[in-house]
């Protein structure tokens, strides 16, 4: 294994994904491949979810990862569902544990027979914006150590960035590079501005965030700066008025 400095995890994650994509535009499958290698798991799947019972597997690294979704949809229970509903990771290092069996009796039985001995479900979310879940599994039970958890969460963030870029309707390499290099995207004002813009435009939170990101990109300004302008009421998003550089509709 290559010795890497994980202290700037944000930058390192994209470099690692780039090793998988080899120059092609970044896609969720590259994130999955990188995460599988770094978290030392056996497979990964990204499920897009509109609700706890309406979802599709966007990408899975293998047949077992693909079935993670099916098992849970069939029986309406499982760590992916819980992660989505609770808005936080659900880490199950040992599917044979009493704890897991108590929480999801049917899922654990089926999945364990199917070769899944550990599952780690990380929601793809920005607050109330819930895009889906990033699922990792192991064929042998065992917890992820702190570094692997941190890496897995960072890969989930990266998948989230890609999915949000998809929501903007454009996903060029330049666009993704620009967004991933903007470290201000998690600031408080961005979340507040999301709420304000969703009211201003009469759209949902995901669209509001996409519009903020598109504006920031078009004006080459950090997202947090744009957000501060919105929060301090120097910038409004008006559905009737086309913002300079912004696509309408």
């Amino acid at each position: 294994m290559v010795a890497v400095d994980h202290s700037d995890r944000g930058a390192w994650i994209w470099t690692r994904i780039g090793l998988e994509s080899r120059g092609a535009p970044f896609a969720v499958k590259h994130v999955c491949a990188a995460a599988v290698a770094e978290a030392d798991v056996d497979g990964a799947a990204v499920t897009l979810m509109a609700s706890a019972s309406v979802w599709q597997t966007l990408y899975a690294t293998d047949a077992v990862a693909e079935r993670l979704g099916e098992w849970q949809l069939d029986f309406g229970e499982g760590p992916t569902i819980d992660a989505f509903k609770e808005g936080g990771p659900v880490l199950v290092p040992d599917m044979d544990s009493l704890d897991a069996l108590t929480r999801w009796p049917v899922f654990v039985t089926e999945a364990s027979m199917g070769g899944v001995k550990a599952v780690f479900a990380l929601p793809l979310q920005v607050g109330a914006i819930r895009l889906g879940v990033f699922n990792l599994y192991r064929g042998v039970s065992g917890p992820m150590d702190a570094r692997q958890v941190a890496d897995a969460l960072a890969f989930a963030d990266a998948a989230c960035t890609l999915l949000l870029s998809d929501a903007e309707g454009t996903r060029t390499a330049a666009d993704i590079t620009w967004h991933r290099d903007d470290r201000s995207a998690h600031q408080i004002q961005v979340h507040q501005a999301t709420g304000m813009v969703l009211v201003q435009l009469g759209v949902n939170a995901e669209t509001a965030l996409a519009r903020l990101r598109a504006y920031a990109y078009a004006h080459n300004r950090p997202l947090s700066e744009v957000a501060i302008d919105v929060v301090e009421r120097r910038l409004r998003f008006d559905p009737e008025v086309r913002q300079e550089g912004e696509e309408v509709g």
């Binding site: 995890r9 944000g10 609770e86 808005g87 936080g88 990771p89 659900v90 880490l91 199950v92 290092p93 929601p123 979310q125 920005v126 607050g127 109330a128 914006i129 917890p143 702190a146 958890v149 941190a150 969460l153 960072a154 963030d157 998690h186 600031q187 408080i188 979340h191 507040q192 501005a193 999301t194 709420g195 304000m196 813009v197 969703l198 009211v199 201003q200 949902n204 939170a205 929060v231």
Partner: protein, 234 residues
């Protein structure tokens, strides 16, 4: 001067919140508020570590934007990250003396009107999960018994945060912290919605959200999610 008479009331009130429909952010908000009152300091903030290793704002005694921004600066600079790394309290008796050490933090803290600060680690056995941040308008160090009570309140915050499940495993800790921080994001989004809809400032938006949740006996984070998703309009 620490207000001891408020201390017993604060503990009773905080113990009362350890119930089935426990809401982490609301609880931490109460801890921060009571902390400021009992310790008689100008402001209190609570930062929690996310699983990427960065400190994020979880709650504060006041939702004034300038205080939240001051806490947010401490993601990577200031007494809180140092306290977190060292697992020890860090005293800053005079913010004017730390302008080289922490330029952004000190400038911002001074501009808000604070003269001194203190950071106390939130510890669970051998793990540090965040920091309690005190701000004072007067420069100087806090008395030892005040700091002891501050540590006790930081410990209360830690225990309350993790009480929802038995903490045997590293996993549960990671899950709880991430969920708490994501709840915080939802609340910020909800503040934006209410602020825009009613013309409130962000702190008023938070107060309105919180009082609505309490009056209706529902969790703050659940109400916030409904506000952002549009299933709740007020």
């Amino acid at each position: 001067m620490m207000r001891e008479q408020l201390l017993a009331e604060a503990f009773v009130e905080l113990a009362d919140t350890l119930v089935d429909d426990f809401d982490v952010i609301d609880f931490l908000h109460q801890v921060a508020t009571r902390c400021a009152e009992v310790l008689d300091v100008a402001a209190v903030g609570i930062l929690l570590v996310d699983q990427r290793g960065a400190l994020q704002v979880a709650a504060a005694s006041s939702e004034q934007s300038r205080l939240l921004e001051l806490l947010q600066v401490q993601t990577n600079q200031g007494p809180c990250p140092e306290s977190f790394q060292a697992a020890k309290p860090i005293a800053v008796p005079d913010l004017n003396q730390v302008t080289e050490r922490w330029p952004r933090f000190s400038t911002q803290a001074l501009s808000v009107g604070f003269s001194a600060a203190h950071a106390i680690p939130m510890r669970l056995r051998l793990t540090v999960i965040g920091a309690l941040n005190l701000f004072m308008e007067q420069s100087g160090t806090l008395p030892t018994d005040t700091l002891r009570v501050a540590q006790a309140l930081a410990d209360v915050a830690t225990i309350g945060l993790l009480q929802a499940r038995t903490i045997r495993h590293h996993e549960t800790l990671a899950e709880q912290l991430q969920t708490a921080l994501n709840s915080r994001v939802i609340i910020e989004q909800a503040k934006g919605v209410l602020s825009e809809r009613h013309g409130f400032g962000m702190d008023q938006a938070f107060a309105r959200l919180r009082s609505n949740a309490r009056n209706r006996n529902i969790r703050l984070s659940d109400l916030a999610r409904d506000v952002v998703e549009g299933t709740e309009r007020f």
